[in-house]
Amino acid sequence: MTFRISTTPIEAASLQRTLVDERAGACVTFEGWVRNQNEGQPVLSLEYEAYTPLAEKEGERILAEAQQRFALLGAVCVHRVGLLQLGEMAVWVGVTAEHRGAAFEACRYIIDEAKARVPIWKKEHYASGATAWINCATRGEHSHPAAIPPA
């Protein structure tokens, strides 16, 4: 059970190898990729920032919760920080279990909770030159996502 913030590209294959377990009949993985648009605005790149010590602590707590709720054998989550280009992997979650139901549910739980609770922030860089910190729009700014015009 490991939750880690990474400043370098995520190596999915080597993370998955750490989950090898002869008791496991199912391995479910989730990868979050930088996609080329958000709510209709063309995106060029993303910037992720984390409060690393608390992010890893909160992430480990999520993995422990998943282990209590579901019949898991192993779970790993790594979240990238820094500037990411289109198609790059922002987050990887891998879960093993004897049976597929637990693996699917735990993988979904981990990514849902990580997105909701772990102190990681995302800034989108749009084709227009504007940028926005996602979820940080406030009244008076452009509607969601908050668009800060180029300087």
Binding site: Y48, A90, W121, T138
Partner: protein
Amino acid sequence: MITLNVQYFAILREQRGVSQEQLSTAARTPAALYEELRARYPFTLPGDRVRAAVNETFVDADSVLNDGDQVVFIPPVAGG
């Protein structure tokens, strides 16, 4: 007055212009400290959209701050 270390991330870091600072304050809770900082810097997020962490642990906005604490205000998160 107590002395605190404050770290800023993401939108707060950009709006504050530094990623950390040491400051002396009469504020005794994260909520009071955030309002003090908001009066001084162009923070757009209201206090109720920001969580507080002290010494690498989430805390209530009205928990007690102690001299030497490391304080972080957490804007709405957006991992994944």
